[in-house]
Symmetry: C2
Subunit: 129 residues, 2 copies
DNA sequence: ATGGGGCTTCCCATGATGGGAGGGTCAAGG
DNA sequence: CCTTGACCCTCCCATCATGGGAAGCCCCAT
């Protein structure tokens, strides 16, 4: 399977597949005589794994760890769960931060007439704090 | 006022002040004979404005717009409110996305024993989807 | 006058991703 | 058999906001 077909089948762009190859996230792809990368079902599963993990917001270092646990049939599920919980905490923190921003803005926006006049509590807030 | 003092007084690092200068976000700072940037109260207010806007999650292009409205005493508050509302919608979308990630992970993590055994619903999910 | 700290510019790195140039390869159809 | 178009390869560049650091100039206090 060529990189283009692997990209289509895995949902990971060819660019990113080469990048994952370069940084050693996936096992280096075998090459044809003419230096084309070739992929099999096992590679595809790795790529899909990565895509799914990315879509859950895991960072590349976290995915590196997850992949190595995934490959290890003896892994304790404890280790996987620890990574997941850490990531959940991270997400929650970022959500809380953005929620606070949105709430503040909603309040300010609510107080702003939003018409032709120049008075604006939003700008006033940005000025003062 | 030197850049270091302006940094301390505004809460924006000297590095970032130079950067805002370079990209034209703030008016170019006047210079002393020996080419040191100098800042007055008006500059400080701009820097504080930017810092506050950043802390509410506004992007640099949005801040550019906000600054120009802020400088224009004739601005219609409608324009400011429009920017704020767009940003709120953006925040809400990102929050929803991260919330979905966190919820999925919470479910998977809840189903994972987290002990010595290798069985792990988290890895299974990453494998299948 | 000298030393330490602050200022200047310039370069580099981040993380994940895409764009594009220049050049080799493969397969299908004339 | 040759051409053509669609692949593939590597290498370089850009993003966005931020920080680190080097080399060199400047200012103030001792």
């Amino acid at each position: 399977m060529n990189i283009g077909q692997a990209a289509k089948a895995s949902g990971v762009s060819a660019k990113m597949i080469r990048y994952y190859d370069e940084i050693g996230l996936v096992r280096p792809a075998s090459r044809t005589e003419s230096n084309y990368r070739e992929y099999d079902d096992r590679s595809l599963n790795e790529l899909r794994f990565i895509r799914r993990a990315r879509s859950l917001g895991f960072s590349m270092p976290e995915i590196t760890q997850l992949l190595s646990l995934w490959r290890d049939r003896q892994r304790p599920s404890r280790d996987v769960k620890a990574i997941a919980e850490r990531h959940i905490a991270d997400l929650d923190a970022r959500i809380a931060e953005m929620q606070a921003m949105a709430d503040t803005l909603r309040h300010l926006s609510h107080c702003c007439a939003g018409d032709d006049r120049p008075e604006c509590p939003i700008l006033e807030d940005l000025t003062r704090s």
